[in-house]
């Protein structure tokens, strides 16, 4: 070994990286990917933005955020016979099961996760058009929201960011 100690390179001097996620879905299984990836990005010191739009508004709507559902209908990855998926009670069962799996992995529920991301410095934006469409107001959305943006403003803010649409 050389005389200089071998120390990890944390990349603190790297150029500022930026990442943005667009959350357009309101189902439980489609809420988690962006939240988990954003958390990983923030842990790596990236600047992160999440833009909630259309059904993704359910993730930040206080009335719905704690009660997102997972439906096995039309999802072959559940490996359930397609004819069984639409039966009564199946969605409730599948949702409960997914929540339990997440809990076992120490993954917080969606509202707690959003607070965690905000604490990590994540920028959370609501889509202006969706806010109007669903007739939401700021009081009805998560307290951690950084603002309501129209698309032009969002595009301006995420200049240079790697952008992922969910």
């Amino acid at each position: 070994m050389t005389d200089a100690p071998f120390v990890p390179d944390f990349g603190d001097d790297d150029d500022e990286r930026k990442i943005a996620f667009i959350c357009s879905k309101g189902s439980l299984d489609m809420a988690y990917p962006a939240l988990i990836m954003a958390s990983g990005a923030l842990e790596q010191g990236l600047e992160a933005h999440i833009f909630f739009t259309f059904w993704g508004m359910d993730m930040i709507n206080k009335k719905t955020m704690g009660d997102l559902k997972f439906s096995p209908v039309g999802n072959p990855a559940t490996h359930m016979p397609a004819a069984l998926a639409p039966l009564p009670g199946m969605q409730t069962m599948a949702t409960a099961r997914m929540k339990k799996q997440m809990e076992e992995l120490d993954i917080p529920d969606v509202p707690t996760f959003l607070t965690h991301l905000s604490d990590m410095g994540c920028n959370l934006w609501a889509c202006k058009m969706s806010v109007d469409m669903f007739e939401l107001d700021e009081a009805g959305m998560i307290d951690e929201l950084d603002g309501v943006l129209n698309v032009s403003d969002f595009i301006e803010i995420i200049e240079g960011a790697q952008t992922i649409f969910v």
Partner: protein, 105 residues
């Protein structure tokens, strides 16, 4: 397994430079590890995080994630970002002489 010498002590590290031998670590070494990555004085806040990580690793067999340090260790995430700037999960693992966390959240 590579070794490196920090403050006159030879320690075993992985390919990224994180310590691999739990028992080679002590508090004096932690100060040196912190200094090596640009963290000057270790405050009570730093030690609270480091001690939680050490204890938790002994019980769980893996390094706690940032979320776990907040949820189980009771240290707010915002504070962890102040104590170990930019990449708290990895930096505090390094100073605590543990592998970097494998969990995602």
């Amino acid at each position: 397994m590579p070794t490196t010498t920090i403050a006159g002590r030879e320690i075993h590290v992985d390919d990224d430079g994180f310590m691999t031998e739990y028992d080679e670590w002590n508090e004096d070494l932690a100060k040196e590890l912190a200094a090596a990555i640009g963290i000057g004085d270790l405050t009570d806040g730093h030690w609270k995080a480091i001690n939680f990580l050490r204890e938790d690793y002994k019980e769980q067999g893996e390094t706690a994630t940032l979320r776990r340090v907040t949820a189980s260790g009771g240290i707010p995430t915002k504070e962890l970002f102040q104590l170990f700037p930019k990449k708290p999960a990895r930096k505090m693992s390094y100073v605590a002489g543990l592998p970097k966390p494998v969990g995602c959240v």
